[in-house]
Symmetry: C2
Subunit: 245 residues, 2 copies
DNA sequence: GTAGTTCGATTGTCCGGACATACGGATTGA
DNA sequence: TCAATCCGTATGTCCGGACAATCGAACTAC
């Protein structure tokens, strides 16, 4: 019954990470059933030839992911699954792709414009600064799903229309060496204007889902501001969140 | 310039936690300016009379919160703020209260009903099982803001209407010893039905923001399912999220 | 029978050290 | 002048141990 765990000391992959991966796989695969105890850390460490801190580090990473729960005096148990995606900072493109839908993108605009007051405030620039502005229509199964407007500060990235139609914006940014760190976002709803209605093939006044997001890199610099609208019959925000204790 | 950090070894508060609090306070207060280096861990440990693992644990907790960034070979720097609330599992009540608005709640229903197929699936019960059903109208400044429908499995909690009008549901659950662990939620939009429109003082067909959420405790048991609608002119979902690397 | 106590088990915290690894700047070489 | 290399520095990983705090169950006393 006990898992056959093992670590490869010659691998460059950290030992705690190897262990965490194996435990996660065992949980996913069903070898470790929900609610079952994991066995105490000391014994587990001895069995694997690891030290307790290393084993603890592996377990802790899974606790942070919400897969395990520790109880002092009791042990570490597997949470009754239900955990899937802990809400990452993901692009719509990645979301769609991982959902099996092959997303298509039509770039409607890719220009440089002076920043409006709202954009300037979001990006932390002076009003009127030249910023990139891209407008994209995202389709799934040939149907329009979302209308995406993004603003990027100057000199950060070469925005190639061809690339934008082939992949997501975040991938391009990561590929350019930008390390995304955090984002502030706001999700709301409102009725479609006439122009929006036409672009999304909805009647005027139809309910739309809206999302505004400012993304920051790890130096705290704003690297992107997006103002997006979604067809609620085609898309909704699904995510999981954990209680940080 | 260097902070006056200190730890109290006689305190029951863990040393790493004391240090983390002081660092966080220094960042909040501005003593540690964004972008500044934190000084290497070894020296910091020596200065405080702590070991490096303890100092690392403190720093790591702030990295997890998004306040600090570590760079190998460089050091640990303070992120250019912008970080505020990393999206907790919060109730609308708490959100409103912390925003300075004094929320009011009107309980419109508090009964026991057989679970519909949807509710049963969400709570992991058999269809037809008796569940608590509460309907609440949430107001701010006397204006209706949201219409909240919640379902709870039987035998979990005594739902007192008076308490429900005085505080939020999550607080009652926590007070009853339930440790909330995670939640799956879905945010969308649609037009208001005639009944919804009247309850929220909106015209029929008006865009509404919708949220469905199933909350689980740390054993993985579903403890609540909510089906909520919000007036988008009065409320939107604002949150911050971090990139888990 | 019930309430209080003791005790084993398990995680939480903390220590001091060791070596590996990656980044950035200085140095060196073409 | 520019590119490749070296090296100091700081974090990343890992070890082995020690004691404290907490939970749950068995035990005891009333």
């Amino acid at each position: 019954m006990s898992l056959d765990l093992s670590v490869d000391r010659s691998s460059p992959v950290p030992l705690y990470f190897q262990l965490a991966q194996q435990l996660e796989a065992a949980i996913e695969h069903g070898s470790l059933t929900p609610g079952s105890l994991l066995g105490n850390e000391i014994e587990l460490a001895a069995r694997l030839g690891l030290s307790r801190p290393t084993v603890r580090q592996a377990i802790q990473s899974l606790v942070d992911k919400g897969l395990l729960v520790r109880r002092r005096g009791v042990g570490t148990q597997v949470v009754h699954s239900q955990v899937k995606r802990p809400l990452e900072l993901s692009s719509l493109y990645d979301d769609l792709e991982s959902a099996g839908q092959r997303p298509a993108t039509k770039v409607l605009a890719n220009t440089v414009v002076p920043a409006s007051a709202e954009v300037a405030a979001a990006l932390g620039l002076a009003e009127g600064t030249e910023v990139h502005r891209i407008e994209r229509l995202r389709l799934a199964h040939g149907e329009p799903m979302a209308y995406l407007t993004n603003y990027l500060p100057p000199g950060l990235l070469d925005l190639d229309t061809v690339q934008l139609e082939a992949t997501g914006l975040y991938r391009l940014m990561r590929a350019a060496g930008i390390t995304l760190h955090s984002a502030r976002q706001s999700i709301g709803a409102r009725g479609a204007t006439a122009a929006e209605a036409e672009r999304l093939a909805e009647p005027e006044g139809a309910p739309l889902l809206t999302m505004q997001r400012t993304t920051y890199d790890d130096t705290g610099r704003a690297v992107e501001f997006g103002d997006h609208i979604y067809r609620p019959t085609r898309y909704s925000f699904e995510f999981q969140l954990l209680v940080r204790s």
